[in-house]
Symmetry: C3
């Protein structure tokens, strides 16, 4: 009898261990997928800028992921999840003396993943919000002030608003819902992008007396590689946000995410054909991204047809939004504001329209409240930082350098030779 109980107990322990291994591995694979989104952003942004500014945007992108990881490790993570393991600033301290502690942490998060897994997954997320900004201020922003902005944005702005919802803060208590970050990641990045684009001003020659002069990207295969890699990474971004390998949930998220991306492509294709009379590759690429941003808030709680509608509308928004920002002369070389801010807002509202969540969760009222407070906070934060930098060390290269290109000006190099 006691022998049977011992076999049963051993079986239960092994079963729990196996489940823990499988769930944790999914979170780690999701981390790897989110990581490669940084390459997606790097290639997308460098494809969309001119040849003379390519080294600069690549340099920014490798610095952002590095700075992002370090800033989030040092400050951001503790600030965003203060209820975890001692809270604010504790993670860095913890890591300092106790590497072996890992093994003792396996019971974290209902046994789904380790504390270390949680950190590295969250850290990969965190760094993305600055990458969004870098695209909007490309081709004229000075390198060092921008990197300084990134440190502050990842250390403070992203984790503070993230805490409100994902750290079980006040927005969470009110029933605000944002599954994987239409607002908390994409709009946060988008508001930063808007503040940056406003304060740094449009590129020379974009808006002239004779009207808008389009400045085409220098390398469309590179931009296309970027969008495919972002879609690829989004399986981890949304799929990992399930926070376990739950088969029903993760597979649902995979379908809603893919369908929204596909529908976003079709939406942008149709609207840009209707409005601009052309099969515009850049629009279709941004349509895919718009669909992905749009579904991010509700990928775990909508039907497939709803995902198609959400994605289609998000994609259709893209050409209109890009046209709108050009009309009000806010210059955003890669369309980051349209993709991440506008579609992020749309996706957050879509939760209230299409989402199947608990009573009182994701109502239109609280979704609008969340959009508003996160928007006001992030935009103000970014605006103040950029404004102070502008008035002190400056945030824009001088006219001569901009014409010559930032690659020569900031790096004494060229991307191609």
């Amino acid at each position: 009898m006691s022998e049977t109980l011992s076999v049963a107990q051993q079986a239960l322990d092994t079963a729990n261990e196996a489940k823990f291994i499988a769930n944790n591995l999914w979170m780690l694979m999701a981390t790897v997928l989110v990581f490669i989104m940084h390459l997606g952003f790097a290639t997308l942004e460098s494809g969309f800028v001119r040849r003379k500014n390519v080294v600069n945007i690549l340099f920014k992108n490798i610095m952002i992921v590095s700075i992002g990881l370090l800033s989030y490790y040092t400050i951001g993570f503790g600030l965003m999840y203060p209820g975890v393991e001692g809270g604010f600033l504790e993670f860095a301290g913890f890591g300092l003396n106790n590497p072996e502690g890992t093994l003792g942490l396996i019971e974290y998060a209902d046994g789904n993943y380790t504390y270390y897994t949680d950190f590295i997954f969250q850290a990969m997320f965190a760094a993305t919000c600055c990458t969004i900004v870098s695209g909007a201020v490309a081709e004229r922003a000075k390198l060092l002030p921008f990197l300084l902005f990134c440190v502050l944005f990842v250390s403070l702005a992203y984790p503070i608003s993230g805490y409100w919802k994902w750290g079980q803060g006040w927005l969470d208590a009110r029933g605000f819902y944002d599954f994987a970050g239409s607002t908390l990641v994409h709009s946060v990045g988008g508001w930063g992008a808007l503040a940056g684009a406003l304060l740094v001003g449009p590129r020379l020659g974009k808006y002239t007396d004779k009207g808008l002069k389009p400045i085409p990207g220098h390398n469309m295969p590179l931009a296309t590689v970027g969008v495919f890699l972002l879609w690829f990474g989004w399986f981890g971004f949304n799929g990992g946000s399930v926070l376990s390998g739950d088969p029903g949930m993760v597979s649902l998220v995979f379908i809603t995410t893919s369908m929204a991306a596909a529908a976003g492509c079709i939406g942008a294709f149709i609207i840009s054909k209707l409005v601009y009379r052309s099969y515009d590759l850049g629009m279709a690429l941004n349509g895919i991204l718009g669909g992905l941003v749009g579904i991010t808030a509700s990928a775990d709680g909508v039907s497939i047809p709803s995902a198609l509608i959400i994605g289609f509308i998000a994609g259709g928004i893209i050409p209109l939004s890009i046209g709108f920002f050009d009309r009000i002369k806010i210059d955003d070389p890669v369309g980051a504001t349209s993709v991440h801010l506008v579609c992020g807002i749309w996706g957050t509202i879509a939760v209230a329209i299409f989402g199947n969540y608990d009573e009182g969760v994701g109502t239109l009222g609280v979704q609008l409240l969340g959009i508003a407070v996160v928007g006001v906070f992030t935009f103000t934060f970014a605006f103040i930082i950029f404004f102070i930098l502008k008035k002190t060390i400056g945030i824009r290269v001088d006219k001569k350098e901009e014409i010559k290109g930032l690659d020569i000006g900031e790096h004494q190099a060229t991307a191609y030779s």
Copy 2:
């Protein structure tokens, strides 16, 4: 006692759950890997075409994956697996009203993966067959008719022939074997490519009175990126076709797949050196793909040395086949017909020569039968569609546009600036 039984029962439930999570995660990771093959095709094809047609081929590739997912969701999946969950056209209906149903679907497929996982994995597969066609008709096919062809091909041709085997149809009953789709995916795409290339005709200036004029691709790094990404994705394409995370099977498939790819590279290297007296990068790249296509039908049931032979022969076929199609003046800018059709046929025959399967499964007779009927059906289907399109809206851009390039003609854009 009953306490012991309850522990044992709980252990068994948890163990089954853990196994389900792990198996399902593998199918989802395989889905992600198959997804990135679309980027592989996009970069391979855009690398192999001329600068003036790059935007067009990229545009086609992002549209194909989007259209493919939507078509397969709406019609294809229900048609291919009619025995599943209510059959033909039911999936779309199912998804419509019942997102929560996910959780109730966990017992699907012997508890190895969810119904949703099955769909998204299959949908990623489905879209690849059109991508194969797009390469063969590149640089002269009109955009809209081609996209229309894709809708019909993914909605009808691919799932109908797929049903014959994978949907437990009549070819399956006869013992036809095609593990991951040498015939059902690659040859299907290859027959479509052949029909398209025949009806759209060769590119201007390729076959002149003075003989063949080679038209080199515009960007070999891009093409190389494509082949590496396709190999990378093939771990999911073949590995996921195990339909579970079975350690012995998936690891065997990884080795046979890799070894065939490596041997395909060497085969193409040697034969193209012997025949064309040159170390031709394009041939070696297509040799890798040939090896991968060749092993796809039998990756789960051949020894490693057999995989080497299958891959080596497939790779060696490539330079000869590409030469052959050029001699009969069928112009295929990326070699898709040689890679996917010819090596797909070879791989399907190889099942009968090298495969270790049950009695009566994969005999030479039934393999040839499968190749023939799938070939006749798919080629006829594709030919009729292309023919109707040719006689109505036309499938080829006009001469002036072809000379100027489709990027300007169809998109008013250039890939580089």
Copy 3:
């Protein structure tokens, strides 16, 4: 009662099976990630060379992975792990007759993965050491002699020194520690690179009477893609070296690896700004790689702050080391010697400074011993092979071909048109 025992036993079996599936899947995913590092090397190296030598370096890279897999299958694996399944030269023989044997091998490695999984993971590792060499001799080494070198290096040099530690040989018995190969993979490749660069000599025009003439790479986006893909793959390289999906260990390795890469970027950024007064993208990219190589020996046994220090120093070494090799006129177009040899040595020493391992493991003495003997053996081996090749068939293209470019000379092709 016996019914209860039977449920308990079934639960235990299922639990063990689930654990086995999950652990094995991690090793296979790690294999896929290590595979894509070959694309990382291909794009990095082709980005760092001149336009006229791009086809050649791409050709080398696809041949290396193919030759590497075949050589390691035929000879290397059996030589490196002689204690496994019959030893030297047995694997090829085993694979020959016994594909079904797979299923009988599931108890291999404590039930964590199959024998086949072990082979394919190790084989992907093995091929990387030649890729490291190819970068250092780029733009002037002849194709065929180099490929011959690769066959010998992967078949003999890599597995022999690998056996000393990972095959439970004498270095392992002495307490030498090298978690994932700072010495056994990266330095081995680095010593080969040094021998090759010495014997093949600097590129024409690099070191002139008027001093060093920098030869910038032709495509910085391509090089950046390479570094991101290498970082991406390193999650599998280091994470897979845990040899199971152990949640605590793998997640720790993910953090130490990422943090060292990020700190390496910052280290190279700062030092190259101080020394060369410029924000050098190439240096920052190699700084990331330096950080990754540096942490590879101890990723499983250092604290996060230690990982930051190891990575920062590795990254800081890069600009100094690249400057040093240029001063002593050893020409290495991609910086492979600095990244893989110098940072590999640093990482192996760092085990003794920062590592938390068992008593007597990884002491400074034994680490230096390991560095020395592996270095002497590999360098001598590579030097002799390259020397014999130089004196017989020659290892360098002639002056005219070098000036014209190896793409035309060896392949009658150009990378772009």
